[in-house]
Amino acid sequence: MQNPYKAYPVRIDSIDVATEDKSLRTFKFVFLNPEDENKFAYESGQFAELSIPGKGEIPIGIASSPTEKGFVTFTVFRTGLVTNHLHNMKVGDIMGVRGPLGHPYPLKDLEGKNIVIIGAGFAFTTLRSTIVYMLNPENRKRFGKIDVIYGARNPGMILYKDELTAWEQRDDINMHITVDSTDDPSWKYHTGFVPTITEKVAPQADDNTYAIMCGPPMMLKFTKPVLDKLGYKHENIILSLENRMKCGIGICGRCNIGKELICKDGPVFTLAQLKYMPEEDT
């Protein structure tokens, strides 16, 4: 087996400032060795460790979809030692990507089902990967109705604006974009927190409807009761968790919640599974 701690060398191919306040940037990486791209075959929902020799590694959800070939993209929030350094790097710089890690969203189980995707803030990255995958002509007919509820603090913080606008024009996906608040008179979408908008627009659940949720703890906390009201079964609500990680391969022992290691047994869990996992903040 190859050394799981060794990253595939990559080159930064492009950097997009993703939000108005420059706190998020989308990085597109190209593998230095073309055969590494095949080794890095991934599915939506997985993450990778972005490895910067001299600084460290960070676990970031993969924003690109496996249907997008030749590169892999990540949207990274600037917050600490490694992310600050990454945000100051230039196109052409060399670093590493290690992965893919973790379990993906169980899209095979979702075939033929209606899916409601609920995301907030910069947790939307792996959801973008999922949406791009499902909308791909080869895959779209495998899934039922798709609704997307995505919220950010204000219009400047919305990620992937151009893509969201393009998806809005499509008739095989229902987009519900919202911001917490705005004083922009030209804002034509919803205004309100994600849980409130979810209550307004999410379809009533049946056995064939699943929800995939990804967002900050507050948003998850207040959206769960809304989904309960709408009748979503807990086995049908899929979440992606996060925790502080180092190795990303279930060996260093840092990221556990109860007996599950978030990097290896997760990060994807159903709400039903979460009931048997300790609430880490108590």
């Binding site: 087996m1 050394n3 799981p4 701690y5 060794k6 990253a7 060398p9 490895s51 910067i52 020799p53 001299g54 600084k55 460290g56 590694e57 960070i58 917050t79 600490g80 992310t83 710089d93 060399i94 670093m95 590493g96 996060e242 925790n243 502080r244 180092k246 190795c247 391969i249 279930g250 060996i251 260093c252 022992g253 840092r254 556990n256 919640i257 109860g258 007996k259 290896k264 048997y276 300790p278 880490e280 903040d281 108590t282």
Partner: protein, 347 residues
Amino acid sequence: MMKIINIDKQKWAGGVESLSKSYRLFGPVKDVDCYNFKELKQGEQPDLSYGNTKLSPKSVVFPPSEAMFTYSLDESNPEHHLLKDVPKDYSPRAVLGMRPCDAKAVSLVRMNFDTPEYRDPYWMDAFEATTFVGLACDDPCATCFCTSTNCGPFNEEGLDVLLVDNGSAYIAKALTEKGEKLLAAGGFADAGDDSPVAAKKAAAEAKITAKIETDKLSEKVIMDLYDAPFWHDIAFSCINCCTCTYTCPTCWCFDIQDENKGCEGVRMRNWDSCMTPLFTMHGSGHNPRDKKHQRVRQRFMHKLKYFLDKYQKGIMCVGCGRCVQQCPVNLDIRTVSKTMNDYVAKS
């Protein structure tokens, strides 16, 4: 049918010298007033009169600090920012005189580093290069409680050879092919007789009076134990130092860190501990275990419940007693286990 060899103690030192020609040797060495496992220098003998060492021999396969990769940050270097493998010495090595509790601990820890999906090359390569020669305990310490952790003073799990002290000689039982190879390399070839062992084993086991109570742990519900009210009381005295985790042979948590000197650097891994406040600190500043009782609960739940449920091979403790002996505030795992074992959730 595994070989039984008789090693006359007069011939032991010479045999160790022969072994040093084909193995790097590690053994217990006296360091001022306590014992620790060290690499034996040329001609140095392991001191087998010891009880047990301060730190466990896990450092032979899992050093406290280990380089994983090196890299150059100098952009004029064509391989800059690429992780380079570090040359390692995985030539055959042997640990002489390991206690059965520490050997069993190595087998338990292996389950973490060697999984169907991932194989940790540093730990596994060191492990596969090592022959473990154990020394049975005739005189367990007052704090040893291995007999209640599915282990014992004469336990064979994890060992390649087990030595039993029989007065003027050691009775050596080769338990694996690696063990046989080592005995041959040491020139230990006299046929032995292991009939005295059973009585010695029984005598040693009878001397162990300390025990840990775990019989009802597997039937408990994780959430009941997690939400139990006794954690605040248990955690009060803990000072969150890393003593228990560093001395424990079954603890394996580590940190990965890059450190640079000028334009060169090394990515290393160092022992880390769930008892430290920053262990679970997120980049955002959120820390799910920023309160002491949460960290203390994590340690004991991991050792006595999560590991038990996940692998179903017993608790993550071999009864070596080091944490009990060395905790500065006497937070005793046996007391905690009994509290957990006896706990009945109010329905």
